[in-house]
Symmetry: C2
Subunit: 243 residues, 2 copies
């Protein structure tokens, strides 16, 4: 059974050493498979009774819309990530989540969660850990927008995505496939698409990274890490914390 671990099991396994029983309980998170086309919303701001999902394939972005028409992308989800967890715990969702590519997910209802917690408390701890890791990413994102300039901020985001993808086997130190448009980058980084474009040029001209035709290529990984002050400690655990 442990032979074909899901990305989720692999990720949680980095925090708690999961028993057979716990792995089995995790299976309920993979029962109801669905897919969504590019551009559709998996979660909608203001709607009640939302479901959560575990992303199996594709990219999703979570964002909020402001009344002035602006939007802020809060984070991106890649395979193995939860999405919409907050919207099952709250009465109504406080954010949107949109498929950036065609997407494969498993539905997780509020009941699935509560049941799994009741059966296997260690799993509850693991899910809390996963939620904390997501929060750590949001925090790092906040720090970037608040205190890093456009260049550092952009480099940081692109490095973080690379590190996350590497954990699930979808990226290397050389680069990764990335479906982001410059508009999305702008909405994630609190900048304008026009400005992102200039930043990308600067990154390219300084030999740091190239982003072309859906591929991010790290031209000088070390210098990029230094520029962005990137520390992936919060993403990377080197073994289960709870045995």
């Amino acid at each position: 059974m442990a032979a074909v671990e899901s990305p989720l099991a692999r990720k949680l396994g980095a925090f708690v050493a999961l028993s057979e029983l716990e792995l089995a309980a995790l299976e309920v998170f993979h029962e109801r498979r669905r897919s969504f086309e590019l551009g559709v919303d998996l979660v909608r701001q203001g709607q009640m009774g939302q479901l959560a999902y575990v992303l199996a394939d594709g990219w999703v972005c979570s964002y909020k819309l402001l009344p002035n028409g602006k939007r802020q992308i809060v984070d991106f989800q890649v395979p193995g990530d939860f999405l919409g967890l907050r919207s099952v715990l709250f009465r109504t969702s406080d954010h949107n989540a949109e498929a950036m590519t065609r997407v494969e997910v498993s539905e997780v209802s509020s009941n699935d969660l509560i049941e799994a917690f009741a059966t296997t408390p260690r799993l509850a701890t693991a899910v809390l850990w996963a939620a904390s890791r997501d929060e750590a990413m949001v925090v790092e994102h906040l720090v970037g927008i608040g205190r890093r300039n456009a260049l550092e901020r952009t480099a940081h985001l692109l490095l973080e995505l690379g590190a996350r993808l590497k954990l699930v086997g979808l990226g290397t130190k050389e680069g990764y496939a990335c479906p982001l448009s410059q508009y999305m980058l702008a909405d994630a980084l609190g900048l304008t698409a026009v400005h992102i474009n200039r930043i990308m040029r600067q990154l390219r001209e300084e030999g740091l990274l190239t982003f072309r035709s859906g591929q991010v290529i790290f031209d000088d990984f070390e210098r990029l890490v230094e520029l962005a002050d990137f520390d992936n400690a919060y993403l990377d655990q080197d073994g289960p914390l709870l045995r």
Copy 2:
């Protein structure tokens, strides 16, 4: 026993209707009382084996320091709030937490959490809910820094703090006592203290709010809410979600 509810129990009670058993399990979160003087760190970035705390009295701010010397305040904790949860779940803390006033807390160890979860799974759900609520605040903060200008952002923060304090009986629609300096506001909002000062003047001159000698006074609450696009849905549940 339910007669003297702790701020924490009151807050969690907004999400799950807590049984006597669960309230009792919550009591372990209040066993080891400590206090900290103004200015000391409760949690330190990069340190291992940190404790978490439930804040009983006073204000704390959580922040990250950047190598270039800048800092970004991620959020503030007021009575009833958890702090340092992420640092017990991670091997090492990814942030600092500093007492902004003299502070009363209860220590919560990683074991306390895991035990409580094992005893009372509904409590696990409630803690996950509380963590999600904190994350929702961080997200709203992120949106503010990313997509709101200095005036809107400042108004939003001051309104949010007011709403949170009102929930624990420390504020009204008129205003509240607030130990923030303009430097702290600046570090929270991704701005400069100088600029914050100009923003405060503008808020005052437009009859929106006054911040003087440690008191925030809402001069025109309605207009402020509109300016800041403030929606406290994410703070305010009108009854337990889980019965």
